[in-house]
Symmetry: C2
Subunit: 479 residues, 2 copies
């Protein structure tokens, strides 16, 4: 039943056929955007008009639109209707390899269609990146760098950066290290790839992970040949009691992602005890250790036993992910293996490495983190206060640190809330997507809200959209 | 037979025992430098004095010193004797992981003891890196970048850079592509890791390589689970006739590394034919395609068949390896697989990517390459002229392109020439180290001389040291 629908001079040639009408409509629309037949900015017909024209239910059209908004192909801004997103470049037909990979869409769940409001977790406020200070530091770093710094470098990374990091991590995070045991890598994902390859080369086959976490991490480990096995999770955080002969365990002890708690001290001790007994390796993902608001930062687990814990830190939250700079602090015996797993060469640009070293030693990093911490704390306070006023049925947890909170929703409302958010043109995630597929627990209905993500000028609008999307109902109970 | 030898207040506590006295002495000296017992700059006893003191042959001491000079632990500057290199930081004992990995020594053969003269191949003149222009471009790039550029990016790399590269590669190298099929990676090694992982994930087990090449590349492929099988090599270059069911082949068609020839046009056609018949993949390593002096550049093999050839280019020779920027141009069907093998995330800092894009589009890149080509060409001409005058028994081959030449030596003199070079404090490589261990050919005695490596002020001294190290004897014959 091919139909042609014309608006603003644009033909919407759709054939919504196939196993389901909604699926067919979604695919046809996506294809039209992808190939450029629907140009960026084009306003789509209202769901009422299109459903009448195609002879299908209006709800089906609305759901197809919502799917494509969530995928980033369309945007749905209140007052201006549904439009083709401007961030998606059309892909000429015949390039089958590119077709399934629009800018960032396939391997990254983050939509690129520039929703009006973005509260997805995982990003700092990119508008607050200290561009001028960074350029000043880059000028100092490149002006004073020896020529040999521009050559093939130490696989561990530039010694200037490793030296600056060793001092900073000891001071700020209680990490016990020296520059020789630090391995600079291109973001934590790259560090995890390196550790996965290293463990696999040692014959490891399984790695314990938390019941809640990031699927991209599990997939990286799986691609490295390691099966991920989730540990139980309760009110004290991740429970290491089921650790036995796994080669390693991946944890977020300072700030569980995404639940937000701190690993209980007995659990910390138990993890280290397991590592000592079995020779297992603990990988500590300290992704946002700089941002703790209500009490002293929780020191790194690595400080308890530098011989059995790999500490992993990153500039992705404190500065920006685009720098692609992170670091592993390795037990002494693993440095060479990890450097080999990294490919035996440095992988990070020396200019950024030298600039970050300059940033750390000049005090610019501390100043930036202090200012960011204050700004994020104010946002968190505003979020908690606004929720208490307007949505008392929703409970914010995991608020003591980091750049995100978990909002507990009335039971059974997570999916509906996500749909409502999509109609507010608000990008946000539900808790269920962070559950390990083999975890035995059933996550409560909740949103994971990244309040660090929007720039300052967009923050109040995002908060407003969030409140508008939240369900009404009874206050949640239970853990 | 433990002996203690003291000079300048430094104890040389050596126990030269074990399977060979030379090996024992070398190991003991290396250990003394590594642990800091012999401080950087310390002058070692003359080989005559040490041999008398230890009761071993003087030649054994001289050879042990030469080995450690070649490894970068010691330097042997004429007139000031043999000293502990200053670039090797001591490693505290107990850090066994770091011990075998002084700055750059273990995974990189490049000595870090700062020899007086460096003609190792693989590096451009780092002193000629256009620092001021790069900083200007960086300022423009970072000032105009959208905030989202600082977030998690497309796993293929920034679209600005891929767009600029697509235009440049078409114009300068005859590559047929569009931005959607380019994957930015952290140097060619990283690209090879990605391709190795991708091929392995497809079930591939072997990859054909050239009989001459870089051991680090073979090792990366081996670490990815691929056995490397060398192809025959003759006067027309690498011979693809033994290509059968290998999953892929790695070639340097424009400028064989290190032999310097161009792959014959019949061989180019045969390789593409093989790929079409079998579905095999051709990986074209175009590491220095910008630098050809005596005639038009050889177009990329990829231009013959973009569906079966992966083109790999890099900024490591045209700008600097420290940027860690290279690019793969992929057949359409492989983009998504390669992005996944890369880890599903961008791995290169966006600032350098945006700066290189700015460099390419503003014309600064072309200007820099033109100036560099002229400078390197002058060096090559000076090298060839000086050799003709002072060492007619040595024949320079592979001189039409790139940053290195192969100097054919009188038969049986390669090892002695390398020792003589070491005593001139000249870092240079012999051809034998570039032979694949399974290659059936026996390399001629030859040096591989990287004339791009020294800064301008050190070039004439390096050339002088090279001439002084070259053997006397009859002119070489044969291919």
């Amino acid at each position: 039943m091919a139909k042609t629908w014309a608006t603003s001079g644009v033909d919407l040639h759709l054939e919504p056929t196939g196993p389901g009408v909604r699926r067919g409509l979604t695919d046809a629309l996506r294809e039209a955007v992808r190939t450029g037949r629907l140009a960026p900015g084009t306003r789509l017909p209202s769901s009422r008009a299109l459903s009448a024209d195609l002879g299908i239910a209006r709800n089906t059209v609305a759901e197809a639109y919502a799917d494509l908004v969530a995928e980033g192909w369309l945007t749905a801004r209140q007052g201006s209707g549904t439009r083709v997103a401007t961030g998606v470049p059309p892909t000429p037909s015949g390039q089958s390899g590119s077709t399934a990979l629009p800018a960032g869409a396939a391997p990254h769940p983050r939509p690129r269609g520039h929703p009006a409001h973005d509260l997805l977790p995982g990003l700092p406020d990119l508008a607050a990146f200290p561009r001028a200070e960074w350029l000043r530091a880059a000028r100092r770093a490149l002006t004073t760098a020896p020529n040999e710094a521009l050559g093939y470098g130490d696989p561990r990374g530039r010694v200037e950066l490793r030296t600056a990091l060793a001092g900073y991590l000891a001071r700020a995070r209680g990490v016990r290290t020296d520059p020789g045991r630090i391995l600079v890598c291109a973001g934590f994902s790259h560090g995890l790839q390196i550790l996965g390859a290293m463990l696999r080369a040692r014959g490891a086959t399984t790695m314990a992970v938390e019941s809640y976490g990031l699927d991209v991490h599990w997939r990286l480990l799986s691609d490295a040949g390691l099966r991920t096995v989730p540990l139980p999770f309760d009110e004290l955080g991740t429970n290491p009691r089921t650790l036995t002969d796994q080669a390693a365990v991946l944890l977020t002890p300072a700030h569980q992602f995404p639940m937000g708690g701190t690993l209980h001290r007995d659990r910390r001790a138990a993890v280290v005890d397991w590592a000592r007994r079995t020779g297992g390796l603990v990988v500590e993902d300290d992704y946002d250790g700089e941002f703790r608001y209500d009490r002293q930062p929780v020191g790194a687990l690595q400080g308890l036993d530098p011989d059995h814990v790999v500490y992993a830190g990153t500039a992705s939250k404190s500065l920006a992910p685009g720098l692609r700079l992170a670091w592993l602090v390795l037990p002494p015996g693993l440095v060479e293996e990890a450097a080999r797993a990294k490919g035996g060469k440095d992988t990070c640009g020396v200019l950024d490495q030298l600039t970050l070293a300059e940033f750390l030693t000049s005090g610019a990093y501390d100043r930036h983190v202090r200012a960011a911490r204050l700004r994020y704390r104010r946002r968190r306070d505003a979020l908690v206060a606004e929720l208490a006023r307007r949505a008392p049925q929703v409970r914010a947890t995991g608020i003591a640190a980091g750049l995100h909170v978990v909002l507990r929703l009335p039971p059974g409302t997570e999916q509906a809330t996500l749909r409502a958010a999509s109609w507010q043109d608000l990008a946000v995630e539900g808790l269920h997507r962070y559950r390990h597929p083999d975890a035995t627990l059933e996550p409560p209905d909740a949103l994971v809200v990244g309040y660090g993500t929007p720039p300052d000028h967009a923050w109040s609008g995002a908060l407003e959209a969030l409140c508008a999307a939240l369900p009404e109902g009874d206050a949640t109970t239970g853990p």
